[in-house]
Amino acid sequence: MPLWFARGLRRGVVTTRYPARPDPSAAELPTPPAFRPDALTRELADRLCRVCPSWALTRNGDVLIFDVGACTACGRCREAAPAAVTASGEFELAATDPAHLVKRIPLLGEGAR
């Protein structure tokens, strides 16, 4: 046991200050996408829905419905349309109601309507 006690003292505190301070490693984490409404058309929205492997995206008329709770941040949508989709950088996704995790993105791109 003295061995382990000495090791602990030598090693010091290794936990980060999160959530008081952002964890530096968060920059490396894959995060859900952010969509640019003015770059989204119906055709593009349908293509994004098809590439999403976890069915986090659906289209209802001129609205793209994004269920963040179903998203695995795999990056396939961003890969398919880099001009319209970027990484949100958000990884703190807790919500008190599942409905709060569903985002409605209007399709405002040229020819969307």
Binding site: L3, W4, R7, G8, R11, S25, E28, P53, C74
Partner: protein, 528 residues
Amino acid sequence: MTAVRPGLAGEAPGLHGLLSELGRDAAAGDGPVVTVSVAGPDLEAAVRRLAAFPGARLADVFASGGNPAIRGDHVVLRLVWGLDSDQRYLVTDSVIEGERYPQLSDIAPAAFHEECEIYEQFGIRPEGGKPLNRVALPPQSGPGPALPRLGRAPAEPPAEVHAPHVVGGHAFEFPFGPVRQVGVESLYYGLVTSGEEIVDLYLFTWHKHRGVEWRMRGRTPREALFHVERTEGLGAVGAGWAFAAAAEAALGVDPPGQAMRARAVALELERLYNHAAATAALCQSTGLAVGQAAAEIALERLLRLNAAAFGHRYLFGVVDIGGVRRGPDATALRRELPGAYGELRHAADALLATNSFVDRLEATGILTQEAARRLGIVGPVARATGLATDVRADHPAEPYAGCPLAVAGAQSGDVLARFQVMLAEAAESVRLIGEFLQAGAGPGLTESPEGIAGRAGRSGLGWAESSRGEALAWVALDGSGRITRARLRPASVRNWRGFDDACRSQNVFTDIPIIEASFWLTVAGTSR
């Protein structure tokens, strides 16, 4: 430490001699996979011959076909044999007419789990009246649509193996699970005990069944890869590589060398963090909280290194069909890996110098070499019994083919031996990562994803040495390149069948978490 190859008991007569004995329309080529068609009536004789072939081991058994919507669609039974001394796999195809096939597990005991699974999924069973256990699909509760299965439903539901609650007035069943501690997967232990010592133990793993193989049908290999990586989250690279290799064999695609080295870097990183996690779990199960914290510091550093090198802590999204999606950040790896591995090594050295820790590991959960060979055990669990089975050496694919590998081994088959094998493998992984980075590991696909998606395909077998051992995948594609049948066989499928043997060997209740940590398996992998 020395190790012997499984079943190698003399000069191998050679693959061509074996194939000519099997006869029929043997389609032997020069490749690493040989496929032979064996008529249903000849299957038993062929299995007897193969089981006696030096260096051969039954690596997997699965079925395809048998679509109830297609009249006369017979089930095809496939056996995958690892011919390790020839560095090849042999796949036998047998069309099963009717609902019975020869009793394979009487000849090759490793086949029993698969006989049970095939009965549940395809409705065919071996000759004889041996009861078949429920291993895959959860029991149907109440009316409603049946759970989707790969073929026809069995005539009778499978047996539910429960020991009598009282045996001879002394032993009784102690049910444990399927809900266990926070963060531990669903698993039911049927513990038969006289109070302290484990008399018998059996497992129910079907609570976590997700029908992954069923979900993959009709998808392109690239779409299916998403499911494959999530079959067993702690083995995304191993399972992904095996599946990608199967799809590439079916499509006739050859990934570029730098992409193969990138895969290998990811695979060795996966091995490192899994062995660190197993070390932390061993400390937790032995009540050594400070050691657990030390191992978890190493684990966290390795996971952050994964994120820095490949963009994902658990290395999802690295492997792609025809190559890799992204290459490693070599600078981050060279800067951080020595420190992260050093953290693990220092923790391990301190643990091995702690008598109270080593005493709990020594002579606990012994799995004998004979049992490991009989049950087809793979990976560090097999190597700890003295079986030098490692597909990186036995069936080397690029980049392992040109890179000599020191296969770690031990003899005693106990928890301590498994721990020592993991530590030796971690050191070897660090060395291999350095060599692969030196040779050049980067992103690359053999052709565009659209080009690959448009190809027609046939069938193919793929493999990789995951952190738990040999991961296999077999895939069949239709003319448009979509999956008609995919078989995933992570190492966990094999090694859980040795867990009960290890638990029975003179152990008590409190040894079970220690043995489970040393096997370091996932329920998700076996109940995919």
